[in-house]
């Protein structure tokens, strides 16, 4: 391993990847286990993307996403989002197929961003603050872009083991 980054830079990148990965993983897990109950005894109901598509969707593409919420494909969209979040989350936390995981994350974040681009500059439904153009989805996408650019799979994670076993096999064949 001939990484050019300093130790601190490497640790920072892996921390960033783990946090983003956990965020995706838990969002996926939460949607998959629903319907569920909070420990305080409040039912959480079944998850569907319809609420977000209908309620939060804003900006130039809002109409398209509103139509999706009423479309017969809603079940499939829900499933894709849940599975997508879980797979991306696992990939980033474990550092397995990290580059593919980053691309998946970018795709999902792009969809979430495009469905609700903050153009009004006022507080939006379901958001805890007021945003103009830049919101947390966009920032998270930028963070994933950094992870993608630095190929964090070669710093730490299962990709490293994968690379080693490939290298070992190549060596064995060569000798």
């Amino acid at each position: 391993m001939n990484n050019k980054e300093s130790r601190l830079q490497q640790v920072s990148l892996i921390v960033l990847r783990t946090l983003v990965g956990w965020h995706f993983l838990y969002e996926g897990f939460y949607k998959v286990i629903a319907p569920a109950w909070s420990r305080e005894g409040v039912p959480l109901g079944r998850w569907t993307s319809a609420g977000y598509l209908k309620g939060a969707a804003a900006g130039p593409f809002a109409g398209l996403f509103h139509r999706l919420a009423d479309s017969p494909w809603l079940d499939k969209i829900d499933l894709l989002v849940m599975v997508g979040l879980l797979l991306v989350g696992l990939s980033l936390v474990l550092g397995l197929f990290t580059q593919a995981g980053c691309l998946g994350a970018l795709l999902l974040l792009a969809l979430f961003y495009l469905s609700a681009i903050p153009i009004s500059g006022t507080a939006q439904t379901g958001a805890e603050g007021a945003y103009l153009i830049v919101n947390k989805n966009l920032i998270e996408a930028a963070a994933v872009l950094v992870l993608f650019a630095f190929r964090t799979g070669r710093i730490a994670g299962l990709d490293l083991l994968r690379a080693r076993s490939v290298a070992a096999r190549t060596e064995a064949v060569a000798s």
Binding site: I33, P35, A36, W37, R39, G41, P43
Partner: protein
């Protein structure tokens, strides 16, 4: 006990001031440990007994918490009325069963809400728990001490939840009164509680049989009147003590942190002597609690001026909880003025036909100027929802069999004391 509008206003403000300091959400802080959600949808429930009280609970069942799968009642008219309740709530209709045992066999239920006549509580509740169902059973717990013990033991043996439906435990006013006033000792030493439930009427229901050939004798009721007016016959009922008194005694037990040790009583059928009726229409009962504390319960069916309330008289203050909807607190300092009884005009507000305990004859009327109380039905809604939460995430029950048995034994003993005209010690 009737208060002038000024006294009501003063007492209400005192109450709100006293309870405002309670950290209502303190419990949440304790539960702040990181714990994710628990998988599961609404609890699958069936209802047994859909008379007035069963239908109140049915109407207050939040579909997010419980899915009503089936209804059981021996009277088909009641099932039809229950369907109307479900339709009004906008939830899908449920299957009908005459026999609750068939319902348990055919339906995939997790829990049963039980509102059958008192004499059947022990049999149906125990049967449901034996079949693996959690049970929310209407009050009073059971017709006799043996029935109470059977229910308690079955709950322990089967590990099923058993909640007895004392809705005051789920009423935010009672919870605030306990947490903000009773528990911190705002009232000082409380030696006396007055429990009052006065109504003016025969307590008799008038209803036609579902069909001319309807024969309730199969279920142990010789005539349709015995079924529809089961509250008035000793075989099925424990009279005013069970239907009204046990609510208030149960709260006295909670507030005193004890159960009564002995009871004295007098009463009888004094007014409705020409009616087919066995249980007393006037009862005057004294419950002796440990440490010299006494609760006096009166229930009469000849005058509704006092309506219904519970008053706790302490060395430092008085707490009055009226009609499950209003609360007043008076400091002993200004007691002379604020707690004196004065006559106030009574407004005939809309009658809430919501509970067996509150028939439309008289007690539904409310004193004037009392529009700031809470919606009584909220307590029933909380009761069903919290029961479901207990089933799903083991949220602790507020009135399990241990607590409910305390008030049931006291009320059963009170009837014995009246019958034998002697002081009864309570086991």
């Amino acid at each position: 006990m009737n208060l002038t509008p000024e006294e009501e206003e003063l007492g209400r403000r005192n109450f709100l001031k006293a309870v405002a300091t309670t950290p209502a959400l303190a419990a949440l802080g304790a539960a702040a440990a990181v714990r994710g959600p628990v998988r599961g949808g609404p609890v699958r429930v069936g209802f047994v007994g859909l008379g007035g009280q069963g239908r109140v609970l049915l109407g207050e069942t939040d579909p997010a918490y419980a899915q009503v799968r089936a209804l059981s009642d021996i009277n088909p008219t009641r099932l039809q009325k229950a369907d109307e309740v479900l339709a009004k709530a906008g939830v899908p209709p449920a299957k009908h069963y005459e026999d609750w045992k068939t319902m348990l066999q055919k339906e995939d239920l997790e829990a049963v809400v039980l509102a059958v006549p008192l004499w059947m509580h022990a049999e149906v509740a125990a049967g449901c728990m034996e079949a693996g169902k959690h049970v929310l059973c209407e009050k009073m717990m059971a017709w006799d001490a043996e029935g109470c013990r059977r229910m308690l033991e079955t709950a322990k043996k089967t590990g099923r939840l058993l909640e007895i439906g004392y809705q005051r435990f789920y009423n935010p006013i009672y919870q605030a009164a306990y947490d903000g006033i009773v528990k911190p000792g705002v009232l000082g030493d409380v030696f006396h509680a007055r429990l009052v439930w006065h109504r003016n009427g025969p307590w008799r229901r008038k209803e036609d049989p579902p069909s001319p050939d309807f024969d309730p004798s199969r279920w142990g009721y010789p005539t349709f009147d015995h079924l529809i007016n089961w509250r008035l016959y000793w075989k099925y009922s424990q009279g005013l003590l069970a239907e009204l008194g046990s609510h208030q005694v149960n709260i006295a037990n909670w507030f005193f942190g004890a159960t009564p040790e002995a009871v004295l009583g007098s009463g009888g059928v004094y007014r409705w002597t020409n009616e087919a009726r066995e249980v007393q229409d006037h009862v005057y009962v004294t419950f002796e609690y440990p440490h010299g504390r006494t609760a006096v319960f009166t229930s009469i069916e000849s005058n509704a001026y006092d309506q219904y309330y519970e008053a706790y008289y302490g060395t430092k203050g008085s707490l009055i909880l009226r009609g499950e909807a209003e609360a007043y607190l008076f400091d002993e300092g200004d007691a002379k003025k604020a707690t004196s009884v004065e006559v106030s005009a009574k407004g005939a507000g809309p009658v809430t036909e919501a509970s067996e305990s509150r028939v439309a004859d008289a007690a539904g009327r409310r004193a004037s100027g009392s529009k700031q109380g809470i919606d009584r039905l909220l307590a029933y809604r909380n009761e069903v929802s919290e029961f479901c939460a207990a089933v799903r995430v083991a949220k602790p029950l507020r009135c399990g069999p241990d607590k409910a048995m305390g008030s049931a034994l006291a009320c059963i003993a009170a009837n014995q004391a009246m019958e034998k005209k002697s002081r009864m010690t309570i086991a």
